[in-house]
């Protein structure tokens, strides 16, 4: 009879009573299977604790604020200066934290990770795509947007720096699916969301004019949209739309 995972974990964590601990130790001394299983559980613990952590803002500002608030609390109502100091410290902390997180979480994403965003389509003919009255991308729901940010490891990023974009635009038959969504930097880079919109419009016009088949357009944009842009606009840099 082998030990349960729960007994093995309680043993590892030193949470067994001395009697049970003695029984578990004696069993482990005899049983390779349970020893191996306990090592697997130990490895799972190691894997979990080794996960990298997010960097945190420095403690100085928050510590100063706490001191000021405790001091105010101690001194009573007539100490307006401490209140002022507290408010100033709070403002400074807010600014510092905002700046820290804004910088720490700002990563430029110009092309999607193909493993996370391979692209996904719905079954539509080019006729159906071109007859769609509203060719604009619909808004991505907040929950789904958050999931995309998490997948790309930018869960704490400022949303305003990114546009959660469809890799294959719904205007070209792209699906409303997380595998077709990615957080594109919206203005930081040369190859930004507006440039991709330009390509999407162009490819759709080609498809609807019968000059390009829908599957090719989808494949080209899902493969590498920047390469597709260069190919279809015959240019190495984004064209001026003005």
């Amino acid at each position: 009879m082998h030990l349960s995972d729960q007994e093995l974990l309680l043993g590892l964590d030193g949470e067994l009573s001395s009697r049970d601990a003695g029984r578990v130790t004696a069993h482990l001394a005899e049983c390779w299977t349970c020893r191996a299983r306990q090592q697997e559980i130990g490895k799972a613990i190691a894997d979990f604790v080794r996960l990298p952590n997010a960097p945190l803002p420095p403690a100085e500002g928050p510590r100063a604020l706490l001191r000021a608030q405790m001091s105010q609390n101690r001194s009573g109502k007539d100490q307006n200066w401490t209140l002022m100091a507290g408010i100033c410290a709070l403002l400074m902390v807010g600014l510092c934290i905002g700046q820290f997180w804004s910088q720490a979480t700002r990563v430029v994403v110009t092309v999607p990770d193909p493993k996370l965003t391979p692209g996904a389509t719905v079954l539509l003919s080019s006729g159906e795509v071109c007859s769609a009255s509203n060719a604009n991308n619909k808004a991505v729901p907040v929950g789904l947007r958050r999931k995309v940010f998490e997948e790309y490891g930018i869960a704490h990023a400022e949303p305003r720096f990114y546009e959660v974009d469809y890799l294959i635009t719904p205007a070209l038959g792209g699906a409303d699916d997380i595998h077709n969504l990615w957080p594109q930097s919206n203005s930081d880079t040369v190859w930004n969301a507006q440039v991709k919109d330009d390509l999407e419009d162009h490819l759709r016009a080609l498809v609807c004019a019968g000059k390009l088949d829908l599957a090719t357009a989808q494949r080209e944009i899902a493969g590498n949209w920047i390469d597709a842009y260069k190919k279809y606009f015959h240019t190495d840099r984004p064209r001026n739309r003005d």
Binding site: S4, D5, Q6, L9, L10, D13, E15, E40, I41, K43, A44, I45, D47, F48, V49, L51, P52, N53, A54, P55, L56, P57, A59, P62, R63, L65, L66, R67, Q69, M70, S71, N73, R74, S75, Q79, W81, T82, V93, G94, I97, G98, F100, W101, A104, T105, R106, V107, V142, G143, R146, K147, E150, Y152, G153, I154, A155, H156, A157
Partner: protein, 180 residues
């Protein structure tokens, strides 16, 4: 215009008020010891960094008042996690009411620069963690912070057996994902 003596007097008064008491020093020591751990725990609620930092402030002010009233110093670590946990839950409920937070909550993510370089194993592990029930994930986080099962049970208002089952279940899932 104030004379020099008045000016000096005011300044001295402020300095005297600024001198922290032994209790304040003790709270600041606890703050230095526990701030990051509480902050990471709160980020796991899906709260923003700013909100988490505010809750940490509120938690330590509560500790200050708790000690000021001469209450127990027993297991302050567990006490801090419990207060932060309750404040975090309350904050999240308010945010949900105004739809500022999504349904899914994750453990604190690595910073994006690191994320770019995180291994396949870490990605897999993060996916497993995201799929865990929220309470199981909290048990894991608190255990990783060094809390004993009894302390975790108090913070999360669970039975001792439920903590042990949650931890076993989570670690079994992590171990299973490594086998694939």
């Amino acid at each position: 215009m104030a004379d020099a003596r008045t000016g000096i007097g005011v300044y001295a008064g402020i300095a005297a008020n600024k001198a922290p008491s032994a209790l304040e020093r003790e709270v600041v020591e606890q703050f230095d010891l526990m701030r990051e751990r509480l902050l990471r725990y709160l980020l796991g609620f899906g709260l923003t960094a700013q909100d988490s930092e505010e809750i940490v402030q509120e938690t330590f002010l509560a500790l200050f008042q708790h000690l000021q009233r001469g209450r127990s110093r027993r297991n302050l670590r567990g006490w801090l996690f419990r207060v932060a946990h309750n404040l975090g839950l309350r904050k999240r409920q308010r945010m949900r009411a105004t739809e500022e937070v999504g349904d899914s909550v994750i453990d604190p993510a690595p910073n994006p620069e690191d994320q770019c370089a995180i291994s396949q194993t870490e990605r897999r592990l993060l996916a497993v963690l995201r799929a865990l029930p929220e309470q199981d994930r909290r048990c894991l986080s608190l255990r990783a912070e060094g809390l004993r099962y009894r302390e975790i049970a108090e913070v999360l208002d669970m039975s001792l057996g439920a903590v042990s089952i949650a931890l076993t279940r989570s670690l079994a899932r992590i171990a299973r994902s490594a086998e694939r």
